[in-house]
């Protein structure tokens, strides 16, 4: 019995001592590791403090507060071409991506829609610490970089500057970005559908719009808005060459210009005012004031509570009004030619931008005819009837019919842009001039891009009596439009005009699907920020 007990106790002791031994061993190991680490750390610190020969070549300098004016030329990334090979240049760019690999760090530097590969490698120009510093700069930070442009043997497919890379000798952070971005730029430029296949993320519209500043940095957004600026420029340029005068009109107005609905009311001291739905009234007043040909680029407001792919509550309107001699087609031809000049200008001068957008949102190139195809409403209705659509002669085009007609016209004439002339009088506003040969029709027209309406225009009634008659026919309170009618009493030339939406034209030219993609800071019934 005791023997057994003794045995048992001895066994216990043995087990205990075994455990203790293991414990001790482990502790010893730990201590050794710790000592090792400390030694390493100390060694590293030593190297950082003692051996960093390149510490003047990188870092985060003081905030640019305009202390100095260095004689330094910052070369744009798009200009980094093989012609610049072996030159030492300064570049300011964002860190698009960085990838460290041992003694090297690859960076993609981006400026607007252009990017270039850059390389920091441990050598006689860069230290280990410098490479580490470069690798740790947060994405989207802005850096000033000095480096040598080197030709590469193999094209760098992922960059716009494919034939060269930049060997960095100095790198300074001008503005440090926060480490976490609300959305990744690569995710935001991924074509629809490509994300699903590879299991990668895409960014939805609302996230993009919530973080618009970052989304606007993507190559696609950069291209879209550069092209949009081009549209404005071409519009101005063409019209000024045609002898037009640019006018500025008030946006705070006392009465709604096109019917009472759909206007924003603003409080105006002790009374209320409205935000202009179109510069219509003022354009016409300028015509009566002998300006002959006017145009106006400015914001237009629509209080329509519609949440569709093509409606905004505030957009940029490009408006034209022109006095003509005998026939309103003089004006139609001028407007159509202006559009054709814009399309030609974009086709010839914005190839890069169009290609960039197409990479993310593929679409067929925009086709058009010169002179522009002009069909009559009757012909449009006939084409639709031939395709099996039942509709009345004086019925307005519904949105689906509008799109179908666009497809039919494209099939027959192979054009994405056409004019539909001679709309039924009943579906147009009261100031539309009736057709002299058939009172059911009017001297009005719409213009379409890819089957969607972009411009609505007409010859306006310049005769106060006929204008009054038509207003009564439309049950409009004459008191409210008295000032408008009175402006035609003292000699008014015959005139016509029209207005287009800048965002819609950009969207339809590029074949995009949502007008918010072509509005920098879109406003719709549900969005007021950013």
């Amino acid at each position: 019995m005791t023997k057994e007990e003794n045995n048992g106790a001895a066994e216990e002791l043995q087990i205990q001592s075994k455990k203790a031994l293991k414990k001790q061993q482990k502790e010893a190991e730990k201590a050794a590791k710790k000592a090792d680490k400390q030694a390493k750390l100390a060694a590293e610190q030593q190297t950082t403090s003692e051996e960093d020969f390149a510490k003047d070549r990188y870092g985060q300098p003081a905030m640019v507060q305009s202390q100095q004016k260095p004689d330094r030329v910052l070369v744009r990334i798009q200009d980094l071409t093989p012609e610049k090979a072996d030159q030492l240049v300064w570049v300011r760019a964002r860190i698009h991506t960085s990838r460290a690999k041992g003694k090297q760090c690859f960076l993609v530097l981006r400026h607007q829609q252009f990017n270039v590969q850059a390389l920091v490698a441990v050598g006689d120009r860069a230290s280990k610490q410098m490479v580490k510093f470069a690798a740790n700069i947060n994405k989207e930070s802005i850096v000033d970089v000095e480096g040598v442009v080197r030709k590469v043997d193999q094209k760098i497919e992922s960059c716009t500057q494919q034939d060269v890379e930049l060997h960095i000798e100095k790198i300074f952070v001008i503005s440090l970005a926060e480490p976490r971005l609300p959305l990744q730029l690569e995710d935001a430029v991924r074509p629809d559908g490509a994300g699903d296949e590879e299991g990668r993320a895409t960014v939805n519209q609302d996230t993009r719009l919530d973080n618009r500043v970052i989304d606007l940095r993507t190559t696609t957004s950069q291209a879209v808005f550069r092209l949009q600026s081009g549209i404005c420029h071409l519009f101005r340029d063409t019209l000024i060459k045609k002898g037009f005068v640019e006018i500025q009109t008030p946006k705070i107005i006392s009465a709604a210009s096109e019917g009472g609905a759909n206007v924003f009311t603003v409080s105006y001291f002790k009374t209320s005012a409205y935000l202009a739905q179109s510069p219509q009234l003022y354009k016409q007043m300028c015509i009566c004031a002998d300006f002959e040909k006017v145009f106006c680029i400015g914001p237009v407001f629509r209080a329509e509570d519609s949440n569709t792919h093509r409606h905004l509550t505030e957009f940029v309107g490009l408006d034209i009004e022109m006095a003509f001699n005998y026939h309103y087609h003089e004006v139609v031809d001028q407007i159509a030619d202006t559009m054709v000049q814009i399309f030609k200008g974009l086709r010839d001068n914005f190839t890069t931008e169009i290609e960039t957008v197409n990479k993310q949102y593929p679409s067929e190139p925009f086709k058009f005819l010169e002179p522009t195809l002009r069909l009559e409403y009757k012909e449009g209705v006939a084409m639709l009837r031939e395709a099996g659509i039942e509709m009345g002669d004086e019925e307005d085009l519904s949105t689906p019919n509008e799109k179908l007609l666009g497809r039919l016209v494209k099939e027959k004439y192979d054009t994405d842009f056409y004019i539909l002339d001679k709309y039924p009088l009943a579906v147009r506003p009261f100031y539309t001039m009736p057709d002299p040969s058939n009172a059911k029709y009017s001297n009005s027209y719409d213009m379409f891009m890819r089957g969607e309406e972009i411009l609505s225009g007409a010859q306006r009634i310049h005769d106060p009596d006929l204008l009054t008659e038509r207003a009564i026919h439309h049950n409009i309170d004459l008191e409210k439009i008295k000032a408008y009618i009175d402006s035609f009493r003292y000699g008014a030339p015959p005139h016509a005009g029209g207005g287009i939406g800048l965002e819609r034209v950009t969207m339809l030219y590029l074949g995009l699907h949502n007008v918010r993609q072509t509005s920098m800071f879109p406003r719709d019934p549900k969005r007021l920020t950013p």
Partner: protein, 221 residues
């Protein structure tokens, strides 16, 4: 407005009228203007009230001005629905002339010869099967062997034409037919360095004297 002469014929030939202009669209490459279609356009104008327009498609640029002004001036005061037929010529980057008419019922028609046959049929001339087949075969020979063939083939075709014209003043029968129109236009365009035999030269003079050939010279500048 009262119905114009010929509208009833168009209804029998082309079927239901949807109450609007019947527009014939022809796409043609400015580097190779389809001369015969212009001649036929002229003939159509004699019979119908035709609205003729010229456009340039965005696929081509720098179309020479004489190609833009290939139709005579028209009465600008009429609106589109006053016309019976539309003839819309679009200068476009196409490999061969193409016609689009009724997109719901017809596929696009390719080739100058085929379009010429269609346009000629609108003039409503009745032909017996033998004449019609002869005309067709001259057109094929002109378009494919003379228009696209080697210089050896061209010489051979010109010899055949020369022989036929030795027997009668026109290629088929006693009067000018579609065969003469198409063949003459192809010779004008394609003969180039190849020498033109005597009978053919004489026949071409007679073709060129026809009023419907007036428009062709504008295109040949």
């Amino acid at each position: 407005s009262k119905p114009l002469a010929g509208t009833a014929d168009l209804d029998t030939l082309l079927g239901k009228n949807y109450g609007a202009l019947r527009d014939i669209v022809i796409n043609a490459n400015p580097s190779h203007p389809p001369l015969s279609l212009l001649v036929l356009h002229c003939l159509l104008r004699k019979r119908f009230h035709v609205l003729s327009t010229v456009h340039v498609h965005s696929s081509v640029s720098n179309v020479p001005p004489h190609l833009l002004a290939c139709f005579e001036e028209q009465d600008k005061n009429q609106s589109r629905h006053d016309f019976q037929l539309g003839f819309t010529l679009i200068w476009k980057d196409v490999p061969t002339p193409q016609m689009k008419f009724s997109i719901q019922n017809m596929c696009p028609i390719e080739g100058e010869g085929n379009i010429a046959r269609f346009l000629f049929a609108l003039l409503g001339q009745q032909q017996d099967p033998i004449t019609a087949t002869l005309v067709d075969s001259w057109i094929d020979m002109a378009i494919f062997q003379l228009g696209q063939g080697s210089s050896k083939e061209k010489v051979a075709v010109l010899r055949t034409i020369n022989a036929a014209l030795g027997r009668s003043p026109w290629l088929v029968g006693a009067n000018r037919s579609l065969a003469d129109i198409v063949t003459c236009c192809v010779v004008l365009q394609a003969a180039g360095p190849v020498a033109i035999p005597a009978n053919v030269q004489k026949w071409m003079k007679s073709c060129e004297n026809l009023p419907e050939f007036n428009g062709v010279y504008k295109l040949l500048q």
